[in-house]
């Protein structure tokens, strides 16, 4: 009965690889987000999707591509991973102002 779930929880990979992180919400929310939290705990918005439409794309490298197969899912695909991509990635969803966060995916690029 988890509201916002992400998989995998941990992801360790080599530089140059391509990886995906999946997110699902069962709250019936229209809007979903991807945030990146760096080692200093600074949390920054990456993407926002409303009813499967990308409405905000912050200045992230185009190696990152969000994909929303339906309203309940927002996946994040990362191509050609770099060392600087190491961080914790959080998915979130909202219907109004309050956001509900997933548990995070800890990505380590070696």
């Amino acid at each position: 009965d988890t509201a916002v779930s992400q998989t995998p929880k941990y992801l360790v990979t080599q530089m140059g690889n391509d990886k995906s992180i999946k997110c699902e919400q069962n709250l019936g929310h229209d809007t979903m987000y991807w945030y990146k939290q760096d080692s200093k705990k600074f949390l920054k918005i990456m993407f926002s999707y409303n009813n499967k439409e990308l409405i905000i794309n912050e200045t992230v490298p185009n190696r990152f591509s969000p994909k929303s197969p339906d309203k309940a899912h927002l996946n994040l695909h990362i191509n050609s991973l770099e060392l600087g991509d190491s961080a914790v990635y959080f998915c979130a969803s909202s219907s109004l102002e309050t956001q509900y966060f997933g548990p995070g995916t800890r990505l380590l690029v070696l």
């Binding site: 916002v4 809007t31 987000y33 945030y35 200093k40 705990k41 600074f42 949390l43 920054k44 918005i45 926002s48 409303n50 905000i56 959080f90 979130a92 909202s94 102002e97 309050t98 956001q99 509900y100 966060f101 997933g102 548990p103 995070g104």
Partner: protein
């Protein structure tokens, strides 16, 4: 761009004491929210205060908002060891924009 700045960056108190954290922001807002993040977990919404409100309570939490100073404070009364976490303020920037802009957080340690 970063909007909120929490102060202090870290706070250590004894169980039973009150903890006060402050947040300053730069531009106009519709609302300001506080979130808690336990170690290794996602953020959990605590409380939302709108720009036309000055104070709000929820259990042991008290939030104030001063739009003239562009600042907010979160007070946790009678702290418990379970309150140990990082606390973030977040604003809608620009107003009405749903992706939140977070500060860097205050790391609170409550010692039993």
């Amino acid at each position: 761009s970063q909007q909120g700045e929490e102060d202090p960056q870290a706070l250590s108190i004894q169980e039973g004491e009150n903890a006060t954290m402050n947040c300053s922001y730069k531009t106009s807002i519709n609302n300001l929210q506080w979130y808690r993040q336990n170690s290794g977990r996602g953020l959990v919404h605590l409380i939302l205060i709108r720009s036309n409100e000055r104070e709000k309570h929820s259990g042991r939490l008290r939030v104030t908002l001063d739009t003239s100073k562009k600042s907010s404070s979160l007070l946790i009364t009678a702290s418990r060891a379970a309150d140990t976490a990082s606390y973030f303020c977040a604003t809608d920037n620009p107003p009405g924009n749903t992706p939140l802009v977070f500060g860097k957080g205050t790391r609170l340690s409550v010692i039993a």
